[in-house]
């Protein structure tokens, strides 16, 4: 068995090298002919960049990053459709359409139909329905992008922890009421961030990892120990106050990263935080959205 696998790997490697060599040979000829053609074929550009030493292959996802994302080639919907039907497409777990297969919320979670292009773009249909991304817009912080990339906090929380216990509700209502530095915040909200197991039993407090901006830096330069720190947001130390990532949008808990990170489970359900957040297929899906989420 081991020998068979080794042989197959060798054959695959040979095939890849052969394909690459053919492409390079053909490409070289083209490159000579159309040296300055800015509108040339992808292959010509690829060979030109290879010759000029512009190609830098980094890490496990070099092929996707270099060949697809860096060149922004159009992502066909057929590939997205395949991803939705493929187990482990974005990390270990079932295919998306197993749980999101129709607009019927009795048989498909949130009435979300990921089996069709229209269904993907419509998003959640169960009341209150909403799309999970905006075609043509940056997708990393869209609902779909967050669900595929963001780990729920505290890190390692199981998806079977209900997101509507009293602690979550207190945070949600505080943000909805304007996120003020009032008695309610001081008595009922702030202590939650400082207390072990406040949201989920047997988990560290939020301020274990997000407690100040000092040396060594708090994770994501985030200080959840004070109202000022919470409102300042993440990454303020280097990016500056104006450019910090705000984690609370007063009046809008669903748009607040603080609340999102507490209640939103990463998909597929049960995926480990150790799984790659920037899985190549995730990045391709997000690029498809940013390209307009075309169904053709």
């Amino acid at each position: 068995m081991k020998n068979t696998v080794t042989t197959l790997r060798r054959l695959a490697r040979l095939a890849f090298i052969g394909t690459l060599a053919t492409g390079l040979t053909a490409g070289t000829a083209f490159a000579d002919k159309d040296k300055d053609d800015k509108h040339g074929s992808l292959n010509k550009k690829w060979v030109k960049d290879l010759r000029e030493g512009k190609i830098k292959l980094e890490g496990d996802h070099a092929a996707v990053e270099t060949l697809i994302l860096a060149r922004n080639i159009p992502i066909p919907y057929t590939y997205i459709a395949t991803l939705m039907r493929t187990p482990n497409a974005f990390g270990q777990g079932p295919a998306c359409i197993v749980c999101h297969s129709s607009t019927d919320p009795r048989t498909s979670y949130r009435g979300m139909d990921l089996s069709t292009c229209k269904g993907i773009k419509n998003g959640v249909t169960e009341e209150p329905g909403y799309p999970v991304f905006t075609p043509g817009q940056p997708a990393g912080k869209s609902i779909l992008g967050r669900r595929l990339r963001n780990n729920r906090m505290p890190l390692g929380v199981s998806f079977n922890v209900s997101p509507d216990n009293a602690a979550y509700t207190a945070v949600k209502e505080w943000i909805a009421a304007g996120a003020k530095n009032d008695e309610n915040f001081k008595k009922h909200v702030q202590p939650l961030f400082k207390k072990d197991g406040a949201f989920v039993p047997d988990t560290p407090s939020c301020t274990t990892c997000h407690m100040s901006n000092q040396e060594p830096p708090s994770f994501h330069e985030l200080d959840l120990s004070t109202h000022a720190g919470i409102m300042l947001g993440a990454d303020s130390v280097a990016k500056g106050v104006a450019n910090a990532t705000k984690v609370v949008v007063p009046g809008k808990p669903e748009q607040s990263g603080l609340f999102q990170h507490l209640v939103e489970d990463r998909m597929p359900p049960g995926i480990s935080p150790t799984e790659d957040r920037s899985h190549p297929n995730t990045m391709i899906l997000l690029r498809w959205i940013e390209q307009g989420a075309l169904c053709d």
Binding site: K56, E58, G59, D60, H61, L155, G156, D202, P204, T208, C209, S212, N213, Q214, E215, P216, P217, S218, F219, H220, D235, V237, A238, K239, G240, A242, N243, S272, P273, T274, D276, R277, S278
Partner: protein, 364 residues
């Protein structure tokens, strides 16, 4: 028939014994955390301590109220002075040529150990960043400007303005006559130490957003980017030599003897060759299954000494690994909560900062 039963019984007995041994060994490895013993403690007059520094055989500390010095062999604090920094100190005190620099976001100042009056004070124009002491000069960010002061007198040598409305928050790094700084504007600047004029500037904000915690390893600048990658950069021209994808944010990496050590919340502790970017080894720290196997998150800067790598996690457990292979040789539980730093004194002793502001000497 009887013989067969005997064999079966014998086999069953051996099997159970083996199973028991395996389970025992497994249980030991799962819960094999020994406890550290606190041998001495020094009240410091602070409630919150920041990482400490060596000054010969003594150790410098700083907190929200005082700056001081202890000798691990002595019970009394050697020197303690109210630093009177607005909002307290937030950086590790740094020392060079017998001068200690201690600072916070609003002010930075210098002392000679043993003297109560500071040599100089510098109040922030905007916000002070982590300082670097290099060849008689202290470098630090003040808002978007890099400031160079004479270490002894505090006299200004030069200022260099990066892009406004961003901050130089992390410490610069320097080698020879060049100082490197990576502000929040996404650029990496190499400046002449003599006058602050740029030798070269690279703008790779799309790749790294900004660089954090610059370290030098020979002619390679090792920097963690905001975008989850560790970068190896040629000090001569800012060219990227390699990058390593850590899969999540990089907080407190450490560079020593040609190796960069870092922890990723993806659940790995990595040792990366600082010259090539190749991974030398990785050690699994977390699978987030909730078992005792899982380490707490690592915020404390990793420390190497005597072929050992020291990693203090946020569950107050000190992990000691072999630097060559990454094998964990000891897992030591602190008897009380500590701040995120560790200073090994030798192979048998280490200093920690208790959550109540005391300094602790622990026997490993």
């Amino acid at each position: 028939m009887i013989s067969l039963r005997r064999r079966q019984l014998l086999g069953l007995g051996l099997g159970l014994a083996t199973l028991g041994a395996v389970r025992y060994a497994h249980a030991r490895s799962e819960s094999g955390t020994a406890s550290l013993t606190i041998k001495r403690r020094w009240p410091t007059g602070n409630q919150r301590l920041f990482p400490v520094s060596r000054l010969d055989q003594a150790v410098l500390y700083a907190g929200e109220s005082t700056l001081g010095l202890i000798d691990p062999a002595a019970t009394q604090v050697l020197w303690s002075v109210p630093h009177e920094l607005p909002e307290g100190a937030v950086f590790r005190p740094r020392v060079q040529a017998g001068i200690v620099v201690c600072g916070g976001r609003r002010e930075i100042a210098a002392w000679q150990p043993g003297q109560n009056a500071p040599l100089w004070r510098y109040p922030a124009r905007l916000q002070i960043g982590t300082p670097l002491l290099h060849e008689g000069t202290v470098y630090f960010g003040d808002g978007h400007e890099l400031v160079a002061l004479d270490l002894e007198s505090g006299a200004p040598r030069w200022r260099f303005a990066a892009v406004a409305d961003t901050h130089i928050s992390y410490a610069p790094a320097a080698t020879g006559d060049t100082v490197f700084v990576g502000p929040g504007d996404g650029r990496l600047y190499a400046l002449a130490t003599t006058d602050g004029k740029p030798r070269w500037v690279v703008n790779r904000i799309r790749d790294w957003q900004y660089l954090r915690q610059l370290h030098l390893s020979g002619k390679v600048l090792v920097a963690g980017g905001y975008q989850e990658k560790l970068h190896g950069i040629d000090v001569a021209d800012g060219r990227e030599l390699w990058s390593f994808n850590a899969g999540n944010f990089i907080n407190s990496h450490h560079v020593a003897n040609g190796v960069a050590y870092l922890w990723s919340p993806m659940g790995w502790l990595y040792a990366i060759d600082a010259r090539t970017g190749a991974m030398r080894w990785r050690h699994r720290t977390n699978d987030y299954s909730g078992g005792s196997y899982n380490w707490g998150p690592l915020m404390a800067e990793l420390v190497t000494q005597d072929q050992r790598l020291y990693a203090l996690d946020l569950k107050n457990v000190l992990h000691i690994l072999d630097v060559t292979q990454g094998e964990e040789s000891a897992r030591l539980n602190l008897p009380e909560p500590v701040r995120p730093f560790v200073l090994p004194l030798d192979q048998r002793r280490a200093l920690f900062g208790a959550d109540n502001g005391d300094l602790l000497l622990a026997s490993l």
